[in-house]
């Protein structure tokens, strides 16, 4: 039984290796390594999802948001310092705006504390709402002129010029913090609510990053982001990318080892017990929601780190580049196809799906061009001008179809989670 699975897994991995080799041969090794680096970043993100979905059955429909937070953090912490801004008046103005924010928080907190003075609820609630509204408008109108001045005079506040690994780490921590708040609210409720809430939070994160021009330059994008390894200009494309790949590979190896240890350990057993039978686990005195919150945060930290790695590699932070299609659904396909709850399967799924995804674009365009060429030749058919962009939507359709088909026909993925039997 065991060896049977091994051969199947081995065969799949061999097929993957061959397709990567083919990719290298046809598209050049620089391109091939680029795809592999990106796939490795996606693999980190996918590992984050596989522990959320595979270990704990949590539905995260807003992966994009956590990936974007990671990218943002990589940008903010590692981009060179903008001396022009820090030596100008706006720096202290911005500080004052943040002080106003702090002040507003203190005032709101104080109003909330009125409860201790036994002020009746009928007074407290309207008072709180009015305070909230006024404080909110006060803070917003405090920030508005400062941020406008920053954008018009300095572009944006610039980065902090820190080492790359700090940016990645903070990216993970920020993503985890957001996850804490969302999870805290939603994890006690039905799993559908988490899906809706994460979907919403991802859009809000994106809207914030896109519109906060003083912080992120918005649609103008920030580049080039510094690399943790010598860049292509110094050592050439292939070496630089290969070095980058080794960094992400080591990172994956570490994550993999830690997850493996956790999965085998009491914590992993408890997680799976909760996933498979929530009621009886709760009855045995496990704090189900606390464990779920841990897993949710942990998964989002990995997503943040993966997102940071991806942004650093691309060398550009572009809030508009974060798309639910690429950064949420593609990752879902990687996980459910690879086998949720199986780390190796997820790794396989990430690389496999990403390679196919990348290859599908030139292939789709080739088919299209052929179709429109012969259509024109034989039927004098004129393809619409946006034919190419339309036809690429076939990929969106395929992603959806794959999700539904895998759920129906191979719910455990290509690498099913190995359930250990203790008899």
């Amino acid at each position: 039984m065991n060896t049977q699975w091994l051969t199947k897994e081995f065969g799949l991995c061999m097929a993957l290796a061959v397709s990567i080799l083919l990719l290298m041969v046809f598209m050049g090794s620089a391109y091939g390594i680029r795809v592999l680096v990106e796939a490795s970043c996606y693999a980190i993100i996918a590992l984050g999802l596989t522990i959320q979905w595979g270990y704990a059955g949590l539905f995260n429909a807003g992966i994009m948001g956590f990936v974007a937070i990671g990218g943002f953090s990589a940008m903010l912490l590692t981009f060179p310092v903008n001396q022009g801004f820090w030596s100008s008046d706006q720096a202290s103005d911005l500080g004052q705006a943040f002080l106003k924010l702090l002040g507003a928080v203190v005032i709101v907190w104080a109003v909330v504390q009125l409860r201790r003075l036994s002020v009746p609820r009928s007074i407290r609630l309207p008072l709180l709402l009015i305070t909230l509204a006024v404080a909110y408008l006060w803070v917003v109108n405090g920030f508005a002129p400062v941020t406008q001045a920053i954008v018009s005079q300095h572009g944006f506040i610039g980065g902090f010029g820190m080492p790359v690994w700090v940016g990645w780490l903070v990216g993970g921590i920020l993503a985890g913090t957001v996850a804490y708040f969302i999870g805290h609210i939603c994890l006690g409720l039905r799993s559908d609510y988490l899906a809706i809430a994460t979907l919403g939070v991802a859009e809000i994160i994106k809207a914030f990053l896109k519109n906060s021009e003083w912080l992120t330059r918005g649609t103008l994008t920030v580049s080039p982001l510094p690399w943790p390894v010598p860049s292509a200009g110094e050592v050439g494309f292939i070496t630089a990318r290969a070095l980058y790949l080794s960094v992400t590979a080591v990172l994956i190896a570490i994550i993999f080892y830690l997850l493996h240890a956790a999965y085998k350990g009491p914590w992993g057993r408890m997680m799976r017990a909760i996933r498979d039978n929530e009621l009886s686990s709760a009855a045995m005195g496990k704090d189900v929601n606390q464990r779920r919150l841990e897993v949710f945060i942990l998964g989002c930290i990995l997503m943040g780190i993966g997102g940071a790695g991806l942004a650093t590699f691309n060398g550009i932070f572009d809030p508009n580049g974060y798309l639910p299609l690429h950064h949420t659904f593609l990752i879902w396909v990687m996980v459910i196809l690879g086998g949720p709850g199986n780390n190796l399967g997820t790794l396989f799924g990430a690389v496999f799906v990403y390679v196919i995804w990348i290859m599908s674009e030139p292939v789709a365009l080739f088919i299209l061009n052929t179709v429109s060429y012969f259509g024109n030749l034989w039927f004098a058919w004129e393809a619409p001008s946006d034919f190419a962009s339309r036809a690429l939507q076939a990929r969106v359709f395929s992603i959806g179809l794959i999700i539904t088909l895998v759920l129906r026909y191979a719910p455990k993925g290509l690498f099913p989670e190995k359930v250990q039997q203790y008899s």
Partner: protein
């Protein structure tokens, strides 16, 4: 008084219009949830699909509307609703029913509905491109300017044909739905199944028929909402993207599984949106001399680009304080 008219146009009318759209979507979400027990993520795409059906039909027969004195797309609405309902029924047959038969957890159905979302979006863009379109082809949008009978008010209250039709449609649809749920055998069976699906089966209720009817109702309401919204604004393929969060928020605010709650929830979300993006400085401007502070030019709670945060934070607030919604829906 002009400021007040501005308020009516931008808050009252806009709120009623967008609230009606959300309500029509949320009723469908809530019905599907109460019968099939999962959050149907592809619902906003059914709305877009319905609007595209209406667009196709309008393009095919552009002269019908002017002949009847109504927007063509509105005349075509029943057909578009039928087509969308049919699509919904077959989507269920193809993608959700097999999973239900396997007895999967509801969350797997949610995921399948995300897959369906992507398929619908891909298909719509494949056939229609990504540009926005006008649902008026051979006719023009009727815009009514109602002068306010007050001195000092020289701005009219503005309301368009599609907005009037939308409000009328909502009233008719709600009455029809109410009568269906309380008077007809099938409607009662629907409520029974929402209450207790196992007992419904034991009582000999044809549960498959109830499921089909649920999809028909949800699909046709979605098509109507999508079409009427596109008539009023324009038809964009990413319509669904802007609708998804608000309609879910509306359904949850109203109490999941509670059609009248969804209706109320739709208006709560709609008005919350228009009130929070409304520039209150406009209303305060006449009193600017009496104020003790300088009136900023813009005193909106939420900039328009952050409108999506409104339904989201209402959703979070309701999940924190009253997860069953305003009308005590199903406890989840």
């Amino acid at each position: 008084m002009n400021e007040f008219v501005f308020f009516i146009n931008n808050v009252l009318i806009s709120g009623v219009v967008i609230g009606s759209i959300y309500a029509l979507g949320a009723v469908g979400i809530t019905l599907i949830f109460s019968i099939l027990r999962f959050a149907h993520f592809a619902h906003a795409d059914l709305m877009t699909l319905g609007a595209f059906f209406a667009f196709f039909l309008t393009a095919l027969f552009p002269a019908i509307g002017p002949a009847l004195g109504l927007p063509t797309a509105f005349v075509m609405l029943p057909l578009a609703m039928g087509l969308t309902a049919l699509t919904a029924v077959y989507l269920d047959k193809a993608f959700y029913k097999p999973l239900r038969a396997q007895g999967v957890k509801p969350i797997v159905l949610v995921m399948a509905s995300l897959g369906v979302t992507l398929m619908l979006q891909g298909l719509i863009r494949m056939f229609m491109g990504t540009s926005s379109r006008n649902l008026y082809i051979d006719d023009r949008k009727g815009i009514h300017r109602i002068d306010v009978p007050f001195e000092l008010a020289n701005r009219p209250i503005v309301i368009t044909d599609p907005q009037i039709l939308l409000i009328l449609f909502l009233v008719v649809a709600v009455i029809a739905l109410h009568l269906f749920l309380t008077r007809s055998k099938l409607g009662k069976a629907m409520r029974a199944m929402s209450d207790n699906p196992d007992l419904a089966r034991v009582s000999g209720i044809n549960t498959q028929k109830v499921v089909t009817v649920t999809w028909i109702i949800a699909g046709s309401l979605a098509a109507a909402a999508g079409t009427l919204l596109s008539l009023d604004v324009s038809l964009k393929p990413d319509l669904s993207f802007m609708l998804l969060l608000p309609i879910f928020a509306a359904a949850i605010v109203g109490g999941v599984g509670h059609p009248y709650g969804a209706l109320a929830g739709g208006f709560v979300i709609g008005f919350a949106e228009t009130l929070s993006v409304f520039n209150w400085a406009v209303l305060l401007r006449p009193f600017r001399d009496q104020l003790w502070f300088d009136l900023p030019a813009n005193l909106a709670f939420v900039p328009t680009e952050y409108k999506i945060t409104v339904p989201f934070f209402i959703l979070l607030a309701i999940l924190v304080w009253r997860p069953t919604g305003l009308f005590k829906g199903k406890v989840l």
